[in-house]
Symmetry: C2
DNA sequence: TTGAAAGCGCTAACAC
DNA sequence: GTGTTAGCGCTTTCAA
């Protein structure tokens, strides 16, 4: 069913039908109702493609994330989809798979029209290279972009980030409050902004508590998808750490996987959680929830981040006035207390 | 940059430019190259919306799944995205959140043009109601649909399913081969096709081994998103099962969450895994992988399913001949052996 | 109050 | 070998 067909059936012009359906006051109440009734009867639905072509914009959000088989990112997707749906937008998803090249290609693909704006979390490779030309380029073309989680401050666009530093402080403080004295930190190399910030939070919490920093209590893991390689390596590091520092009574890891590795090592040492060693980690996902004992975590509110990001983007897409300044929303973390601490 | 602008710059007509860029043999080699060089120089990219309007079809796949914060579905999304990308398609994602109504609305939204075909996994509510009018309607309109995982045979369209029965047989056999005699099954109510099929597989495996079916060894859980309610209930059931049947020496669950519950109960009884009770479950996700001990699982090859589904759909979208018969692809399951069995 | 016509960017049948 | 034109479905200006 098209406007034309409706017009023919009704014996009026296309423009009359169009205006009627858009409730234009130009059209008499009478014909307006007649047309609307007719349209409803024939189950007329406007062709969004034609609309997009006409309006030179689409109600579609392009979302580019490193991976989707990942609790946090999946939560964000869920949040984005939820508000997109509510506000009449669609969500186009594309995975960079942590590759810079794929990220660039995906952006170009999306930019070939059909997208109203982007919601992006940068790939690890992009962060490592510090090459953001594709993002800058998109923004320069006037396309709204919202960055979340894996962001960099030098890109001038709206951002939604978790307060990683605060979350790490919270986690460390939580351990200290339980009377733990020697907290082992398992984190990533510093080029991952979230890893760096979490390390900072840990350091700050110790400083606030007047505890001197002991670098032998920080393990920085090379972050990689090859978990079959890095995890055994990490477990070795953990083992020697526990051996060299028998006074370690708590472990704080920047993700669930590292926490799972820590638990395995703790158990291999015949130690008990939380009696001998308490464990807490970033990401309140299924691994923590269903571990035994269930792990205390730092919840990053992924869904909330998705909601905020989508709302910011759509606001930006629909806003009439030209570019107000970029906004950075910081989402606070929260400790989820379970049995491991 | 549009064709028109290019044409003006070059001093030729729009159609010449169009044909040149499409490598039409109508155009002389010379102008063709000139136009192409020019287009490249100006970084011309065709407007996909205009193309879609013209061709009355888009290179977009609409994917509707119950949830994305779920290992299996996320794997499928990954597979779909991968082949979509390779074959020049985009993936529009929408979540039914296990709601019939949302599923219907999502389909209608997508059907408002812009979609070339659907990849769908039915919501639990839809399966419960057995109301598939929205799917039938879409198919009747000539829109290609591929159903995966949560499917029903009465819908006449391409389907990709896991061989749930075979997977369950494999798992049960695996336990029996380890010398286990009394395998407790934790499954869902029968209206969930996958739950029913897995139950069947369990029953068959027992029959093949000449072991009489003991209905007190089957727990059927009401499947619901309210895991805070059903899990404690399930744990109670598990406890009484273990109490009433102390000879239980293995547990097979149809998902990871139930397995996590089982592990908790086993531990509460002071029993050891796998020494006293072996555990195996469907879904080779992170819960199993990072549990201690790591769980043996039935791998459903989610990514593979996504790949197959996307390829089938795109083949269908691009196929010239009119409807060959619907194909059902059955993906075999595979046991992933870990320390719990 | 209604309708004719142009145009969004592109392709393709047809004319030159 | 190249150009003109109509048309995909819609909105919107302008004319009636």
């Amino acid at each position: 069913m098209t406007l034309k067909q409706l017009a023919n059936e009704l014996g009026v012009s296309v423009s009359t039908v169009s205006k009627s359906l858009n409730n234009s006051s130009e059209i008499s109440h009478e014909t307006r109702l007649r047309v609307q009734a007719f349209a409803k009867f024939y189950n007329y639905r406007p062709n969004n493609i034609a609309l997009s072509l006409k309006n030179k914009k689409t109600k579609t959000i392009g979302m580019i994330i490193p991976e989707v088989v990942h609790h946090f990112f999946a939560m964000v997707v869920q949040g984005v989809e939820q508000v997109a749906m509510d506000r009449g937008y669609n969500v186009l998803i594309s995975l960079s798979n942590e590759s810079f090249e794929k990220e660039v290609i995906n952006m170009e693909t999306f930019a070939d029209s059909q997208i109203g704006g982007f919601i992006i979390s940068l790939s690890k490779e992009t962060l490592k290279r510090q090459d953001y030309h594709h993002i800058h380029q998109t923004i320069d073309q006037g396309m709204p972009v919202v960055l979340f989680d894996r962001t960099v401050p030098e890109i001038n666009c709206d951002q939604v980030v978790v307060n990683d530093e605060q979350g790490a402080m919270l986690a460390t403080q939580h351990l200290l409050e339980q009377g733990r004295k020697n907290v082992l930190l398992v984190t990533t190399e510093d080029y991952i902004s979230v890893g760096r910030l979490r390390t900072q939070g840990y350091v700050k919490a110790l400083r606030n508590a007047g505890i001197p920093l002991d670098n032998s209590l920080i393990i920085k893991t090379e972050d990689s998808k090859r978990s079959d390689i890095i995890l055994p390596a990490l477990e070795e590091e953990l083992k020697s750490a526990l051996k060299n520092n028998p006074e370690i009574d708590a472990i704080f890891t920047v993700n669930e996987i590292y926490a799972a590795a820590a638990m395995r090592v703790i158990r291999a040492f015949g130690l008990q959680i939380p009696k001998d060693i308490a464990v807490i980690c970033f990401t309140d996902g299924v691994i923590s929830k269903y571990a035994s004992p269930p792990l205390s975590t730092v919840n990053q509110h992924g869904t909330q981040i998705g909601i905020e990001a989508a709302n910011m983007l759509i606001d930006r897409i629909e806003q009439k006035e030209i570019s107000t300044d970029a906004i950075t929303k910081i989402i606070a973390c929260e400790i989820v207390r379970r049995d491991s601490t």
